[in-house]
Symmetry: C2
């Protein structure tokens, strides 16, 4: 029991209390159901891999996005993590392809360009069909540094490099938005 609790505690978002609660829940659950969970966990590790083209997590290779010929091959959106693709897909407005870096530049944490999946990115951009690279790394210090780095790296290859807009989130109230964001929203203002 304590071995399971120790193992569960290492998962993100699960503290000692949750781990204990899950442990006791499994004790009460029938063997069949428990075997299903265990099998699903192992299955995930065996079947899921990274797409050779975009580095997204996938069961098939290339992934379902990279193998969809209906998408716009002129646009390539760069994100830090596989989890960043879903929110962009949910907008229903972007129809280009993606590229996952698996991180962002972070000198303090010793993460340089070699630690990111940039080699197959320059390859893709060199391929000649991409016209615009949209850098959708996070609006953080590391994400911004990565955006600047990618711009310097990719513009000489003859593509437009753009950055998603920073500003006040839709539906928010200015009164509760932090001043750094408001400063960016003021800087980024546009004629209407």
């Amino acid at each position: 029991m304590s071995r399971l609790i120790e193992a569960l505690r290492r998962l993100p978002g699960i503290g000692p209390k949750s781990a204990q609660r899950i442990g006791f829940h499994i004790l009460k659950t029938g063997r069949g159901e428990v075997e299903e969970i265990a099998a699903a966990i192992l299955d995930l590790k065996d079947k899921i891999r990274l797409c050779d083209v975009c580095n997204n997590v996938t069961e098939s290779n290339p992934c379902f996005i990279c193998s969809d010929p209906a998408r716009n091959a002129k646009q390539l959106c760069i994100v830090e993590e596989p989890g960043n693709i879903l929110p962009i897909e949910r907008t229903g407005q972007y129809r280009g392809y993606y590229h996952v870096l698996h991180g962002a530049l972070s000198p303090l944490q010793g993460i340089g360009p070699e630690q990111l999946r940039i080699a197959n990115l320059t390859e893709r951009v060199n391929g000649g069909t991409v016209e615009e690279v949209i850098v959708a790394t996070n609006p953080t210090v590391d994400g911004e540094a990565t955006a600047t780095y990618l711009s310097k790296l990719l513009k000489p290859l003859g593509v437009n490099v753009t950055r998603i807009a920073m500003g006040v989130p839709v539906g928010s109230d200015l009164e509760y938005v932090d001043e750094v964001t408001i400063a960016r929203a003021m800087e980024g203002r546009k004629a209407i």
Copy 2:
């Protein structure tokens, strides 16, 4: 006692429990201190008024911003509420003047242009020194409708009308940003 609790309950953010707690606290507090609170409340109502120029709340008229000649008279930033000025001031980057509408257009709530303080806005813009009107109404449906209305009203007077940028807030993680905001961030992307 119940009269005070009823009165306190009507204040924003104070529920029946908080009202009761404040009531009992006042019972235990010395008369001098209580008189101070009561005087401060009455004082606020007597001394605070709206600035004739920008409609901000103020003790002096014109307010301390409108009477500051060091500010940039070419820029005028329009906000919905007096509380929206402070977050913009905190950025330390905007040095123009302000104009408070005291609301936003909301057909559903019966708020039209007549209910907002627009009369002295067109007067100010007609004055001739303003070159850019920055619409910093909230990034909501009402705020956007107000921005569109003001653009149509003020552009014929010969000024540039701009809107603060909507996008992902600084320091956030794309994974936790709603899709409407991400869609706006993608739309508003800029070359880097």
